[in-house]
Subunit: 210 residues, 2 copies
Amino acid sequence: MRILIPLFPGITTLDAVGPYEVLRQLPDAEVHFPAAEPGVVLDGAETLGLRADSAFGDFDGTDVLVVPGGPGARPAQHDAALLEWIGRMHAAARWTTSVCTGSLILGAAGLLRGLDATTHWSTIADLEAHGARYTEERVVVRGNVVTAAGVSSGIDMALTLAERLAGPVPARAAQLAIEYDPQPPFDSGSPSKAGPEVRAYAAERRRRRG
Amino acid sequence: MRILIPLFPGITTLDAVGPYEVLRQLPDAEVHFPAAEPGVVLDGAETLGLRADSAFGDFDGTDVLVVPGGPGARPAQHDAALLEWIGRMHAAARWTTSVCTGSLILGAAGLLRGLDATTHWSTIADLEAHGARYTEERVVVRGNVVTAAGVSSGIDMALTLAERLAGPVPARAAQLAIEYDPQPPFDSGSPSKAGPEVRAYAAERRRRRG
């Protein structure tokens, strides 16, 4: 079972790594991280680099496509070669998925028109600009397109997908393998739960980073 | 504020990336990923590579040390140069932390003798062999040493640490930034919750991988 997680400059690494650590546990999983060309791709903070092990052109299809987001998703919406590749992979994939602002790339590739979908809470208007109907759920499954909310939601998305790909026991075993028994020390993981002071602080941080 | 996340061959990437995505959000955070030498370091599945941006020798101290785990943590327990470096960083660090079997490396460096600590559920005996007292909590804070349970627990650990490093608002804003509002589709993230069938399947998968 082939799983492709495309990399581009400015990704948020957890968007890619969360689903990777779940899906790679499944029987016969064969994961690749292709990019425009093989080599190190830097994240949005230009701090952490992930190695692209292959080039987009190396693949003529996939079982599962996982498109991560990050600050680089914004320019990626205008990367014609990437969008063409995404569309081509989607055409034959069993599942096309995104994490965070990866949904903006699916949208720019024309895959979300008229479809319920989600994205990071800060980019709802951008998602809707692609003709998607924003849906306030952590994981949105519509047909064979699965979109997830911000960053860490990719783990929940991948577990949902794992059950459909491999059945209940392997999916639950993947959760156990990564000991995903979340116990956050506080409860501000969504705008409504975070409250105004935390929201204002987070918005200011985002502004300063550009 | 300097945060070092050392890399070694065979890490589990989420152990490093989960805390990274939280801690990098904090004011004045400056994160580095050192290794024995700069370059790409492959994970335990030999699939995903993370770029080491620096060498251990480039640093004479740190504010925060985050030691990830993974299959490579087992040989790393016998890597004298790594252990010496870990001990030296710990001596002056404000916080020394580990995720998953990263605690075995802290243990091998002699930092956990007589201390409460945790690790991945599959390596409790290995942790205790280093003189630590295994403690069944997701995040164990003792003095300035913080150990976390398996893989995904590094996110909870980093949020706990973020509050101590930067206060409640920046820590909660980091949780909001990564939209960490976990909603796993099932509840098998610990051995007791997973039940016998899933536990047996997971154990068999671990055995086959070696």
